[in-house]
Structures are given as C-alpha cells and as structure tokens.
C-alpha cells in the first residue's frame, strides 16, 4: 500500500471521483491553474480542464451559491473554501439553502454538494488562517460535517461525501496536510459518514477527539503505555451528526473520559459529546468528564509563544490523561 500525506489523499480522492463520475467538478479560489494554495487540487486542471476545475472570483457566497445551484440540477460539485475562516460570507447559502432544500421541497430537491475547507492552527497562520469553525454548523439538521484525521480516512470519507445525496462540509486540518502520512489503498473504497472509529484500544482512560488532536492523543497514549496507563482513543471522524452509540461504548469502557478539541471550549463539539455521555453513561463514570480545548480567546494569536499556549500538543494531552489516570 502506498504511503501518502493527508493532502495527497485529498487530491487522490478528488481525482478518482472525477474519473469515476463526470458530474463531479471542483470550484474555488486558485484551485485551477495554481492547483490550490495548499496544492490540494494539484494536477486536476491539467487532467480535467477548465470546464471541470473552475477558478472562481474571491467571493465565497458565489462559490457556495453556484455549487448549490449546480448540485440541485444534478451535478456533484466539490467547492473549496480557501480557509474555513473565509466560509462566513457563504453561511447563509449553506444553512438557509443547502441544508434545508430537501426538507423544504418535501424531497423533490436534493443538494449533493461537498464543501471542502482547511481549518485549524499551529501553522503560524494567525487570526484568519487558524480557526476551527465546525461548531457554527453543528446544530443544523440537513448538514453533515466530516473532519478526518488520517490519509486513509480522508480518501474514504471524501469519496463518501462526494457521493452523499445531501450537503457535506469536509474540514481538513491544514497542519495535518503535510505532517500526517499513512498508508492509503489504491483501490476505490468508501468509509461511512456518521461513524466514529476506535484508533487505539485501551482500558484506563477514554480519549474522544477528532482531526489533528487524534494524533496528539495517540502520541501521548504511546508514551503513557510505558508507564502502565492504557488509553482508548475514539476518533469521531463525523462531528455532526455524532455517532452516539460509538461515544457511549467508548465512554462506558473506562469510565474516565477526556474530550479534546482545538476549538474554543465553550459551545464546541465536545460539549455535545459530554452531554451524550452524561445522559447515557452516569453509572459507568468513574471521574468527572474532562474537556481539553482552546482558551476563550477570539482567535489563534500570531506571536509564536501565544500560539503555542493556545494550541494543543501531545504534552498537554499527556498531562490531562495522567491527571485523569491518577484521579
């Protein structure tokens, strides 16, 4: 199995889907000739031409709007927001139109659009290139939000997103793009949206997280194993709607739960995860549910010291796991 980076898995999935189905096309700022600012659409313009790899004006509402319209007419658009920080002008289109059209039209219309966007910090990106905005969309029935952690999951889930009959937001951690590498099968496979994945089996502490933080948890778990602390790691993969069953099983397994997100703590995805656990697992809990998250600061600061303070890392995760283990 070839080893590829997270972003290569994105490109690979796009390429395979465009080859498989000519209704699939990509649009976004600089996705064409330039191949995307992160090179996610590298080579697609040369292979599929300007009719299927569209360079758009700097107008996110237009990117979303054109994509939604095309999707409703039977196309399979994959729209790229250059950074998730810039998705905000398109939120009205996404929430009011894409998420609701099936419901509003009594199933007459669907909107099979995929909207990709890089998110997350730790890359010296400062305020408008570092945010995690998933929680804005995470209470909108009709939408799905996928946030994969590994190249294998990226390819399988992006294919599922493109083939999904309804709108899917596909958020990619930009620091993972070149940091995370892994084996990715060359064949055509998909992974189910809405299903969490156990990334490591353990018996002492359950860590539930998603995106880049999965790797922080795995690294911390590896280190703590030597001290006899066994960590169970659940990767949510889809943060909306959440895999309730998977969460309940993982939390009940150890009764000591650490939830991690890079987003600001209040109102984040893990608050909802915590609520699910509190509702269902009281008599299996052996410690208060613990959340490790970004501070209540408007956005990721630019100063390296402050960025480091804001961002999570394996050391912070390790410390939090150890605290729970000692409890």
């Amino acid at each position: 199995m070839p080893v590829m980076s997270y972003i290569q898995a994105v490109t690979r999935a796009l390429k395979e889907e465009m080859e498989r189905d000519e209704k699939v096309f990509v649009l976004g700022e600089d996705v064409g000739v330039r191949g995307g600012v992160f090179r996610a659409t590298d080579g697609l313009y040369d292979q599929f031409g300007e009719a299927r790899v569209l360079d758009t004006p700097l107008a996110e509402s237009a990117i979303a709007g054109v994509g939604i319209g095309a999707a409703m007419y039977g196309m399979r658009p994959v729209a790229e927001m250059q950074f998730v920080d810039f998705i905000l002008p398109a939120v009205n289109q996404i929430l009011s139109e894409a998420a609701k059209i099936r419901y509003r039209s009594n199933n007459d219309w669907t909107c099979p659009i995929t909207i990709r966007a890089p998110y997350g910090g730790g890359v010296h990106g400062a305020l408008y290139h570092s945010q995690s905005l998933e929680s804005i969309f995470a209470n909108q029935p009709g939408l799905k939000i996928v946030m994969p952690s590994t190249p294998y999951d990226v390819k399988g889930l992006l294919k599922s997103a493109i083939r999904d009959e309804d709108p899917v937001l596909f958020f990619e951690h930009k620091r993972a793009y070149r940091l995370i590498k892994g084996e990715v099968p060359t064949d055509d496979y998909t992974l189910p949206i809405g299903k969490a994945d156990v990334k490591r089996e353990g018996t002492d502490i359950t860590v539930i997280t998603y995106g880049l933080c999965v790797h922080f948890a795995l690294q911390a778990a590896e280190k703590l194993e030597a001290e006899g602390i066994s960590t169970h790691v659940l990767d949510l993969r889809t943060v909306y709607p959440l895999d309730q069953q998977g969460i309940i099983e993982a939390a009940s397994k150890t009764g000591k739960v650490l939830l991690i997100t890079e987003d600001n703590k209040e109102g984040s995805i893990i608050g909802q995860v915590s609520a699910i656990i509190a509702e269902n697992c009281l008599f299996d809990l052996d410690a208060p549910i613990k959340r490790l998250a970004g501070p209540e600061v408007p956005s990721m600061p630019y100063a390296p010291t402050l960025e480091k303070e804001f961002m999570l890392n394996p050391d912070k995760v390790e410390r939090a796991i150890r605290e729970l283990a000692e409890f």
Partner: protein, 422 residues
C-alpha cells in the same frame, strides 16, 4: 561563550518538514545574525534559513539532502554570552516544577477515600461489596472503578452481609434506615432466649420490610368449589405415584390453572420500576417452601409451557432440594409471580406479603368440606379460598377480580375430560 541550537523554522502554513538543499556555511565559519545559513526546500516553498545569532558555526548536524521536521536541530553555534536567551533551558525547568507539584499529591492524603463515583457505587451495590473495606489506588485514596473491578475479578469480595447490622442496606433506602434507627427494639428479660439473626432469617426480614414498606398492598379473596378437581385427582393419584415415583399434589393443579390465567391477564405478571411498569414475558412461578426456621422461594420456570405432570415434577424436585439444602441461586431467581401453599398448614385465610419486586402473590388455602347451597339444596362440597395480595401501584381491583374469576372458573371446571395430566 555558550552553545546555541539552530532549529528548522516554520516556512509557511501547513509546512511541517523541510529538506536541506544546500548549506551556505561550513563548520568554523563566523556568521552575523540574519545571515543565511542554508537553503531549504519544502513542497510549498524554497527558502533560506537565517541565523538567529552572531557567532561561529560549531557543528552541522544535518547533511544536504536530509529531510527534517519543523523544530528539529540543524546545527550548533558558538555564541558570545550576552546573546544567550536561555530559552532552551526553560521547558525543562517548568517540567521539574510540574513534577514537584505532582509529587505532593502522592502523600498520605486519604480525603477522597469515601467519595465514590457513580460507577464505583453501582458495582459495589451489584456485587455486595463493602467499600469501607476496600483500599483505593486513586488520588487521595479514592477507590477507582478499576479497583472495584479487580476485586470482582479476584472473587474475594469483602461482603457487607458478612458482618452484623451493616450499612449497605441503609444506604439504598433512607426510609428504611430512618425507621430502623428510630425503632426501640424489645429488651430481653431473664430466662428469655436470644436468637441471633443471621443468614436466611436476616434476608427474609429485609425482604419483608422492603416489600411491606415500599409496596402498597391490597387484598382480595375468592371462594372456589373444587369438588370436581378433588374427585379427578383422587382417581389418578395412586396410579401417578406408582408410575412417576412422586406425588400428584393439588398444588400442581393450582399452579397450572394460575399460570394459564396469567397468560390471559399478563398485568399480574409485572414489576414496578419507578417510571414504568415492566410486564414480564416469561411466566415463572415462585413457590414458597419452608424448611425448619428457613423459608425459600424456588421458581418453576416457564410454568405456562408445562403440563400438570411437569409442574408436579418441578415441585417435587425443588422441595427435595430445599429439604436437603441443595437449592442454588439459579433455582431461586427470575420468579415473576408467587403461589404460596398456605393450605398445607391448615390455614383458610391469610394475607401474603408480596415477593419483591413481583406485583402479586396468591395464597392457596386449605380445601375443606363445607355445606353449600346449590339449586336451593344443601350439598357437601370441597371448598378452597384463594387469597391474592396485589401491588396497588401496578394493579387494580378490576383486573385482579377478573384474574381471580378466571382462576376460579378454570379450577371449578377441572375434570378428566378437559384437563390432561400429561
């Protein structure tokens, strides 16, 4: 002079590693701050790495063509002292401080010893573990779920019921606890014998208190003419005993009829569960068997699926086990309705205490010959009273009346024609 590290800088968003394409300096070279040290290639940009210090290149660690992660060491520099920032040492200092704090936690503090988590309490109650006898491995002596699981797996359980009056029963029912502490127990006088309350007697006492304090009992009684049943049984009992080796008791007929009626009135086969009533699918009849000072309630499982012979066989087997002290907890679990053979003591009327958490108990009294008026004439008939105690939270008079009427109907019409033994 001091030694400083030059690390791979972050050369753009999403860039996490870089390849040294060319070193622009060699070991021993003097460089000024901001002078380029090396050319680095990433899959996004090509850039020069500037020097962070003025000084001399001491050792180059990474060769040209090597790829290293952002933050990894590239080379060492010899730097004049005032340049030193001391930054490199800071993280270590902080860590040792953390360790010191952690160590203070592992002192002899036992303040969390009696703070139990929901999981620990649940496991302790389910397995009858006395937590005061368990040592905790958690912070400040807290007992963790793992501690309890370890005890359960080891099989050596410090049970609460080993000791005399212990605290576990009280924990669960504050009501009971309150009553117990307020009761002025009887004092013994000269010549009285004191019998310690242990084992089964204690369990009976607890169950009875629980049932009678928690369940609002209501009572009903019907009178049943079992003349036909008595005749029928008399005609077959000797042959049955010879063939099967155990007695064909009246009780087997009663259990059979009751199980059949329960099938038609499943409401009586239920349990109160706080915010819901659980109606049981299986009909498992608990029967009371006394042995000396002890009372057991073994269970005839799936009574509705068994013939009268099958029930008689179960009764004989369970009673035999009870007499020999061979009953297992398996024999005594999963009962859904109790039938009590009070008639065997000559009783003609009684008010049973419900076998918690069931919803009803039926007492079969003595069969007695009594004059009864039929068609305005006296007749000598075999009569029996059936007394039902019911959980009034679950059941009402109407359904219980219908249920008893159905039992009566079944029993009064028991003849060799319609009720096969086998």
């Amino acid at each position: 002079m001091s030694s400083e590290k030059i690390n791979m800088p972050q050369l753009g968003e999403s860039v996490t590693e870089g390849t040294i394409s060319t070193w622009l300096v060699k070991e021993g070279d003097h460089v000024n701050k901001y002078d380029p040290l090396a050319e680095v290639m990433t899959d996004k940009v090509n850039a020069e790495v500037p020097s962070s210090f003025t000084g001399t290149i001491k050792e180059i660690v990474v060769s040209e063509g090597d790829t290293i992660s952002v933050g990894e060491l590239m080379c060492y520099m010899e730097v004049a002292n005032e340049e030193t920032t001391g930054q490199a040492n800071k993280p270590e200092e902080k860590q040792t401080a953390d360790e010191a704090i952690e160590e203070t936690f592992t002192t002899d503090d036992r303040s969390m010893k009696t703070r139990y988590s929901p999981a620990v309490l649940r496991l302790a109650q389910e397995n009858d573990i006395d937590l005061t006898k368990v040592n905790g491995s958690g912070k400040s002596g807290r007992i963790t779920r793992k501690d309890v699981e370890k005890i359960i797996n080891s099989g050596v359980i410090p049970s609460a019921s080993d000791k005399a009056v212990s605290s576990t029963e009280g924990e669960r029912e504050p009501v009971e606890n309150k009553q117990a502490t307020q009761t002025n127990y009887a004092q013994s006088a000269d010549g009285d014998t004191e019998i310690p309350v242990t084992g089964v007697r204690k369990a009976i006492a607890q169950n009875m208190v629980r049932s009678s304090t928690e369940i609002p009992h209501a009572w009903m009684m019907v009178e049943v003419d079992v003349t036909n049943l008595v005749k029928y049984r008399s005609s077959v009992k000797d042959k049955f005993k010879n063939e099967e080796g155990y007695n064909l008791t009246f009780f087997a007929f009663f259990v059979k009829a009751i199980a059949k009626a329960i099938k038609e009135f499943p409401q009586v086969n239920s349990s109160w569960a706080g915010d819901k009533i659980i109606q049981r699918k299986d009909i498992n009849i608990s029967i009371a068997v006394a042995k000396g000072q002890e009372l057991f309630v073994p269970v005839i499982k799936y009574a509705d699926e068994k013939s009268i012979k099958g029930i008689a066989k179960d009764i004989a087997a369970l009673a035999g086990k009870a007499r020999n002290g061979k009953l297992t907890s398996e024999d005594m679990s999963d009962g859904t309705f109790t039938v009590n053979n009070t008639g065997s003591f000559g009783s003609v009327q009684s008010m049973g205490v419900i076998n918690y958490p069931q919803a009803a108990i039926l007492q079969v009294e003595s069969i007695v010959k009594r004059p009864v008026i039929i068609d305005d004439m006296f007749a000598a008939r075999d009569m029996v009273n059936l007394c039902l105690s019911l959980d009034h939270r679950v059941l009402d008079g109407l359904v219980c009346g219908q249920f008893l009427a159905r039992v009566k109907e079944l029993l009064e019409n028991t003849t060799s024609e319609n009720t096969p033994i086998y």
